[in-house]
């Protein structure tokens, strides 16, 4: 923690896990993010909701630079991710990412999925990596699946393994890109439970989701995005129960 940061900037920047300022993102001529200011404090759970095309996934993917911002700054755990000299690979080890399509490595067993990055990137020993992996599989309730291949798992199990894989890097925060959108309804619950447990344990989380129930119960803050801007943000009770903005009201009336 550098003292310079606390000196002359707003308090939120100092203990922000994620601090996004004036983020613009163009895909060709299309402006998908139109000057986003967004932050997540350490230990906070922020849910980002909005219609498709609102840019919420793009915002999330900019945080670990899977998408390249066109302009603006993104500071993650004190590191300016948008800086050219930033070691993105290193920063990514501190950010766990969970995808809508799971993206498990099909040619590797579940255990190997969890250990490969630990060994190759963090340079942990195989023994240590496996211990961490098994602990995380235990955490998501799938320790008996360690030697199974992803193709043999259900969607909910795959996503839980994906969460365990991200956790095995001991990240400072977790990003979730619509983690349950590709799941059959009856499998959604087991994944949300894991996420709920993570939140209870104090993990910093940024979740792009359509699961309003989850947002209401678990989020510290809900951010509503539409058409590339942050329209409204508030506590779940306020935003979901008493939306101030007309667009927010319209969106919620369609999904709730």
């Amino acid at each position: 923690m550098t003292t310079d940061l606390t000196a002359d900037v707003s308090p939120s920047r100092a203990d922000a896990a994620i601090d996004v300022r004036q983020l613009h993102k163009y895909f060709g001529d299309l402006e998908v993010l139109k000057g986003i200011d967004f932050h997540v404090a350490r230990g906070e759970v922020v849910c980002v909701i909005g219609p498709s095309g609102s840019g919420k996934s793009t915002l999330l993917r900019c945080v670990n630079r899977l998408e390249e911002p066109t302009s603006g700054t993104i500071v993650v755990e004190g590191e300016d991710v948008t800086d050219r000299d930033c070691d993105v690979d290193l920063v990514r080890t501190k950010i766990g990412m969970v995808f809508q399509q799971f993206n498990l490595f099909g040619h590797l067993t579940v255990l190997r999925n969890l250990t490969i990055a630990q060994v190759r990137v963090l340079k942990r020993s195989k023994l240590e990596a496996e211990q961490v992996a098994m602990a995380n599989l235990e955490r998501v309730g799938l320790s008996e699946k360690a030697h199974v291949y992803p193709a043999q798992l259900s969607g909910g199990q795959k996503q839980r393994v994906a969460i365990a894989r991200a956790l095995s890097m001991n990240p400072a925060m977790m990003l979730f890109d619509e983690p349950t959108s590709a799941l059959d309804p009856e499998l959604v619950g087991e994944v949300l439970q894991v996420m709920r447990d993570l939140a209870t344990e104090g993990m910093t989380m940024m979740v792009v989701t359509h699961e309003m129930g989850f947002a209401r119960e678990v989020a510290d803050r809900v951010v509503f995005m539409d058409d590339g801007i942050v329209v409204e943000e508030n506590t779940p009770a306020e935003l979901l129960g008493n939306p101030r903005n007309e667009r927010t009201r319209r969106f919620l009336s369609m999904v709730l």
Partner: protein, 274 residues
């Protein structure tokens, strides 16, 4: 003209089912007549003596297996190995963000796919040594494997590139999100999955190479180096009989047929596991 007229089918008109049956019968009849005609017309004595002479056939053994077939297999594996290495390099060049690498790879692939393999082999076996005034290392075999490998690489490059591109982009995103570099992601995550995908077409490539090793003759073999085709041809010329070529052909089939069956099995398994 009565009010209720039912038209009875004309007595000699057939029902649909009967017509189908007749059609099928006539196809069988055609087959039988054709086979009969072939059996009657062919001079089986001459055919047997020219193509299936058992004495000459047995004289080709064991060398046709211990030398000719063995050589063919070795040359195939050599060319395949070189081709695989080259093909991978070319595929990665074609996928490179550096434009000159892409152009060079494209030029190589178009060039070697556009030329007949026999020409390439001739150039490598004679043109190159003459130009530079040295003997090709490994002699005919070395030149043959290099030449055929160069051609195989051009064909395999496209297959390998397609395999790499078939791996879902999400795999790379997940790998990079875990902190892996682009090259680590390529080596540990993309390539293993890409190769799984392209095993059927690569096996096909081996079958093609087995047959193309027969072109090595243009460079010239020493006795011990002869492949199946040249071995068969030389004895056939010697004995003034085609039987050795038939035996060589059967040897080729003995090698290629199990492989093509394997490809069919692999493709079926790939589709089933989707």
């Amino acid at each position: 003209m009565s009010a209720t007229t039912t038209v009875a089918p004309p007595p000699h008109r057939l029902s649909r089912r009967q017509r189908q049956l007749l059609f099928r019968l006539s196809l069988y009849a055609l087959l039988v007549i054709g086979a009969a005609a072939l059996i009657i017309v062919a001079d089986w004595g001459k055919i047997g003596r020219s193509f299936f002479n058992l004495d000459i056939a047995s004289s080709t053994f064991p060398l046709i297996v211990t030398r000719a077939a063995k050589n063919t297999i070795i040359y195939t594996l050599g060319s395949f190995g070189l081709g695989l290495f080259l093909g991978l390099a070319l595929a990665l060049m074609k996928l490179s963000p550096i434009a000159p690498y892409r152009w060079m790879a494209t030029a190589y692939i178009e060039f070697f796919r556009g030329l007949p393999a026999i020409l390439t082999l001739f150039l490598v076996g004679f043109g190159v040594p003459i130009a530079f005034g040295w003997r090709f290392p490994g002699g005919t075999i070395g030149a043959g494997i290099v030449g055929l490998g160069a051609v195989a690489g051009a064909y395999m490059a496209e297959t390998i590139r397609a395999g790499i591109e078939a791996v879902d982009k999400g795999q790379v995103e997940a790998a990079r999100s875990l902190g892996m570099t682009q090259s680590r992601a390529m080596v540990s995550i993309v390539l293993p999955q890409a190769f799984r995908i392209i095993i059927p077409p690569l096996t096909n490539e081996i079958v093609l190479l087995i047959k193309d090793t027969s072109l090595f003759f243009v460079i010239g073999f020493q006795v011990k180096e002869k492949d199946l085709f040249t071995f068969g041809r030389d004895i056939a010329n010697d004995q003034f009989n085609s039987t050795p070529l038939i035996v060589a052909g059967l040897m080729y089939l003995a090698i290629t047929l199990p492989l093509t069956r394997l490809v069919a099995q692999l493709e079926k398994r790939n589709r089933a596991s989707k």
